[in-house]
Symmetry: C2
Subunit: 232 residues, 2 copies
């Protein structure tokens, strides 16, 4: 059980300024639906908060570049990162008036924010976005199911193998890539401790399944077949 201490506390006012600044662009939406996406761009620096649990959920987001983590905390600081959102992913769309989880930039990132509206309105106003939002929700739910299987029933080795293969499929061109997040993020995503994550990665490297370098952020998958066997 490890405590997560919020290293970064950016204020909502910063977000508000960005929103207001972007509103003119949104008002013109409809005139040129194809060329102008109905969203406001926002750039984030490593660790910066996008929104926090309990804040009004007036907007949802789409990642343009970089990585965003969404997570929940227990009162004693234990953290569960439910998802790392990469380019193209939509996150932060919720049924209630308040966010039930928090979102932060893992590295320097860019997102586009959309005002939350009734689905019928979105669908009528911008059918393409409506389809995208719906598909994204189902996709996120599907990934959540996979992750619950991992958290509930897989061993540490199986979790790490699954994670490496998944992240590789999402960000790697070939079989090598740089992890955008640190060990504590991986641990809090996989329901493990940083020590177990580190030990397991080291073990994989010793067994020749992967190669680690440069503060272990750079990873090469040497033996995907073996990793898939381990994935369970």
């Amino acid at each position: 059980m490890q405590a997560y201490t919020a290293a970064n506390t950016s204020r909502a006012s910063a977000a508000a300024a960005v929103v207001m600044q972007g509103f003119p662009a949104m008002r013109t939406r409809g005139m040129d639906r194809v060329a102008t996406p109905s969203g406001v761009r926002r750039t984030l620096t490593r660790g910066e908060e996008v929104f926090a649990e309990g804040e009004p959920s007036d907007f949802f987001y789409k990642v343009v570049s970089g990585t965003v983590r969404t997570y929940k905390l227990l009162n004693d600081g234990r953290r569960q990162i439910d998802e790392f959102h990469l380019g193209g992913d939509i996150f932060g769309l919720e049924p209630g008036e308040q966010h039930r989880f928090s979102a932060e930039a893992v590295d320097d990132a860019t997102v586009v924010m959309f005002r939350r509206r009734r689905f019928a309105v979105i669908a009528q106003d911008d059918p393409a976005l409506g389809d995208q939002v719906m598909a994204s929700l189902m996709h996120n739910l599907q990934r959540a199911h996979d992750h619950m299987l991992l958290l509930g029933r897989k061993s540490a080795q199986e979790r790490i193998a699954t994670f490496l293969l998944d992240i590789s499929k999402r960000i790697a061109k070939g079989d090598s890539f740089d992890l955008p997040m640190q060990r504590s993020d991986i641990a809090d995503h996989l329901g493990l401790t940083i020590e177990t994550v580190s030990r397991t990665l080291t073990q994989f490297a010793r067994d020749g399944l992967i190669k680690l370098a440069a503060a272990s952020r750079s990873v090469v998958l040497c033996d995907k077949t073996a990793l898939r066997r381990l994935e369970a």
Copy 2:
């Protein structure tokens, strides 16, 4: 595993009432709209399969009565039950052409099945239904997030306490209720073994937090405050 096509359409009118009853938003619509979004009722006996992983995902479902479990399996048989669906819950809606998880009746249950269509079509055809399906997706995703926190970061005691409070809120009139599922279902939902579930429940009973009776399916929550403290 069977096709629900022509044979079932004859019962469409009977199912129509169920549809109307099931979707409050549609109740206000004229009877002439009933024919369009057809839902077919299906009764299930304890343990019966609704659909299996890998089968075509042509339909999604809404629980009318009883309990349905959706789950995923690992190749060696380990199981993760991601959700118990109770009356009113919508499940089985997926982005791909095939189901990525399985669904079975926990007890004798009744469901209504709806043919999956493109969201744009649903939204245009019946905006209220679109809103409801979307709300259900967001709701399921929200519950999935809560459950990932449980699976990734909570202790056995905390998991059981959370489970009891949640299921109680969903099915109990007061503070007592009958569990529809057996120990192995609870274990596979909470990422524990049946022994740990049993031991923890017994411990709670010894500590006066709950009362167990009648093959331990009947539960009374005696000290909700203490359970909430344990919930973390």
